[in-house]
């Protein structure tokens, strides 16, 4: 649910980074936080367990600049990937304007990617969102690891109809992290 503040000429969007456990969602946000600090408005908030696993969500507010006289603000969130946090994950996804689905390219994560994507679609349907028009970008992460699925396989699993734009990423090194953010920003702004 984007918010338009005509008084301040601001539009705010909520973007959620979704995906299976340990796929690199928090790493994406941390990279953004350290790379474009001048655009960060406020703190990077992480509600994590003692072992740095996301418990509830991470939150990063950005102010990108203005387009056609409107300041564009983004609120980036991650969901907890672990299975037990299914309902927490669902609650973070509520009222989102766009999604980055971060998939783990490792072969052994194949089924987890598929399950997490399915879980996301089911949650969106339950919220009454239109899955066809929801802005979604795929990020195939950890492309530097040795034991990974081919892009064709990942596409077959998550993007059979080639409906979504995808990026091959190495979030830890920042490769294609900003490009992914840029792509989802384009989709949500164009929809507003």
């Amino acid at each position: 649910m984007s918010t338009i503040n005509f008084a301040k000429r601001e539009i705010s969007f909520k973007i959620v980074y979704y995906g299976p456990a340990m796929s690199g969602k928090t790493t994406n946000l941390r990279y953004i936080y350290t790379t474009i600090p001048e655009k960060v408005k406020g703190d990077f908030t992480s509600i994590a367990t003692e072992t740095e696993r996301t418990l509830f969500f991470d939150f990063l507010p950005l102010e990108l600049g203005s387009i056609k006289g409107f300041t564009i603000r983004l609120s980036l969130y991650t969901v907890p990937g672990q299975y037990i946090y299914k309902l927490t994950r669902k609650s973070v996804l509520r009222a989102t304007d766009g999604i980055v689905f971060v998939a783990d390219s490792q072969i052994e994560k194949k089924q987890e990617n598929i399950d997490s994507f399915q879980d996301m679609i089911e949650n969106l349907i339950e919220f009454g969102e239109n899955v066809e028009t929801m802005p979604i970008i795929l990020q195939y992460n950890k492309r530097d690891l040795p034991n990974i699925l081919s892009i064709e396989e990942l596409q077959q699993d998550l993007n059979k109809d080639n409906k979504y734009q995808y990026f091959e990423a190495i979030a830890q090194e920042g490769i294609n992290v900003i490009e992914t953010l840029k792509a989802v920003t384009k989709l949500v702004v164009q929809k507003a």
Binding site: M1, T3, I4, T45, F56, F59, G65, I67
Partner: protein, 161 residues
């Protein structure tokens, strides 16, 4: 139904924002609240009053909406449609979060001087007063079919990064 409503935007114009801020100012003085923050279910800050900075208010909005949304999953597990109020009590500070329209939440922060009953009273009174303004803004957003940004923004967004 709930899904459809959850997508309603809140479009505040200058007059509405001014009115809300005026009311917040009055209630702040009367109720001895420390800060008042108006947010939507997505966790976006709509208006604030008090000494709180915008950055902190933005973070409070994100967390309050998160708490509220999680509480509602809890409600559903217990067979309840929705919990409309959450309240957190600390040594020095209390925060009262209440749902005032389908999409807007009001967070009021108090020192520990005030009894809980008074906090609930002031939160309810403030919520009731600003409810019509928010509803008007929601209604307008619902009927607004025209896009805010019509032009091709691809290049503009490239330039932002």
């Amino acid at each position: 139904m709930e899904g459809r409503l959850s997508k309603v935007q809140i479009v505040l114009n200058e007059e509405e924002l001014k009115k809300i801020e005026e009311l917040f100012g009055e209630f702040l003085a009367e109720s001895e609240a420390r800060d008042i923050v108006l947010l939507n279910k997505s966790g976006e800050l709509l208006a604030k009053s008090g000494d709180i900075t915008s950055d902190v208010a933005q973070n409070i909005s994100a967390l309050a909406a998160g708490v509220f949304s999680a509480t509602n999953e809890l409600a559903r597990l217990l067979g309840e449609k929705e919990f409309t109020i959450t309240f957190h009590q600390g040594q020095e500070t209390n925060i009262h979060i209440s749902l005032i329209t389908q999409n807007a939440l009001l967070a009021m922060i108090f020192d520990n001087k005030l009894p809980i009953g008074a906090i609930r009273f002031w939160a309810k009174k403030t919520g009731t007063e600003i409810k019509p303004i928010i509803e008007q803004a929601e209604k307008r957003a619902e009927s607004q079919t025209q896009k805010v940004i019509n032009e091709d923004v691809e290049k503009d967004i490239e330039d932002l990064f």
